[in-house]
Amino acid sequence: MTVAARMPDEAAHRVDVRIQAHDFDSAAEIAALTAGRADIGAVVTFTGLCRDEGGRLAALELEHYPGMAERAIRAIATEAVARFSLQGILAIHRHGKIAPGGNIVLVVAAAPHRQAAFDGAAFLMDYLKTDAPFWKKEHLKDGGTGEWVSAKDADDAAKARWTSAQ
């Protein structure tokens, strides 16, 4: 098989994962995922933002395990593509200090129909929450350094629904 012959198929099931400190542009990412294609019927995006927790937080600081972070998210994204027959998926996760209102994570899932796109994005987020090596530490408005954010049982439960539904 020539490279040229492989191209369309690879493009049709694109998995794009990026771990970065800088911000992302949701619109540009959606456009890049759908550009030049007329077979995509549904695009679902999830954007996770930093909340100020009622005015208490000055920032969240996201620590990560560089090599593993990309590897873990890529594995989840690749499974999402196979499981929901996605036409493309993108995940961008930021690290470093992020102020309230700032972007933390972006997921974009494309599919011919809406259910697959919704499921693909939700599946990736549920697994990312519990399996991607990132940790959040609170920086408080009063100048102090707060606690490390605790993992939530609700996140484990959200992930579990994808195995019980099988």
């Binding site: 519990t130 090596p133 993992a151």
Partner: protein
Amino acid sequence: MSVRLVYFAWVRERIGKGSEEIDLPPEVKTVGELIAHLATLGEEYEAALQVPGVIRAALDEEHADHDEPIGGAREIALFPPMTGG
């Protein structure tokens, strides 16, 4: 056998470093045994690893349960439950 240990979040903060090379004692075969061994190395390790059940591990960047054999892993990571997303 010498392995590289990497620590994250409050595990890193309590141990006081982000990584180190250690020689694995021959009796340490699993992730759980490694955690138990490290907890004997001093107060800071004890503080970081006092509740072994909450510590997550990765062998060469792949998630590993506590009963998993370390095998030939070159890099072992220990960290709290993840809170990304």
